[in-house]
Homo-oligomer: 137 residues x 2
């Protein structure tokens, strides 16, 4: 795990050092909500991340213990990326980010069902998402 000079001992600062940039949480989102799990699938996301940045962020997330690389069951050419427990524990943050956005921007149709679930039963949604992800651990 990466040891970088901490800017402070504040827990918010600690967290932002692990995922506080414009890309890391989008990767986490894909691994969490969209079940994308290979480099190629992550690269194809709507936000069009440059491949070198994707590689850099994946390495950083791995060093921070948020994701792990595994052999892909289908092919040795592929790599399976998945969230660790530490990564899955980011679900509540992703949920709150979604709920905040819902208040201040239009939500695309394809995301409305998910938002509805989060609103109806936040705790239940998180528990369920966690359970599904843990099946793959």
């Amino acid at each position: 795990m990466k040891t970088q000079k901490k800017r402070s001992d504040c827990p918010v600062s600690f967290s932002l050092e692990a995922f506080g940039d414009k890309w890391s949480l989008l990767i986490v989102r894909d691994l969490m909500l969209k079940k994308k799990c290979t480099y190629g699938e992550l690269a194809k996301s709507d936000e069009k991340i440059a491949t070198n940045i994707l590689a850099a962020r994946l390495l950083s997330l791995e060093e921070n213990g948020i994701i792990q690389k595994l052999e892909h069951p289908d092919s040795k050419a592929k790599v399976l990326y998945q969230l660790t427990q530490k990564g899955m524990d980011l679900i509540p943050i992703i949920v709150e980010i979604n709920l905040w956005a819902e208040k201040y921007t239009d939500i695309p149709e394809k995301r409305k069902e998910l938002l509805a679930q989060m609103n109806a039963d936040k705790e239940g949604f998180i528990k369920n998402a966690l359970k599904e992800l843990e099946l793959n651990l």
Copy 2:
């Protein structure tokens, strides 16, 4: 309010464009938890943000409708920064970030009481923090 080219229509992406960097949420944290409200106080935070970066982030947060500038009651030389409603609605995110960090790093003594409250009654903590901040609006 800033109109920047959206990377995608994903709510997570929308949110990260507003506060997804290493500094913005630290400023929000200070305005929220530490009741810092002037440029000088924000500049003195533990993380030692450079003054030009602070100015840039404050402008960006303002353009995104998360904070607002007001006349300081004590002096015309000072500026009062405070969270808007949109900014206050980030409280649940800050709380979840604190709770995540608590699981994976040591929390400094001065923050433990706050974390205890968040753990004991998350909803209550958020409601209360919101109520206190809204008094200043």
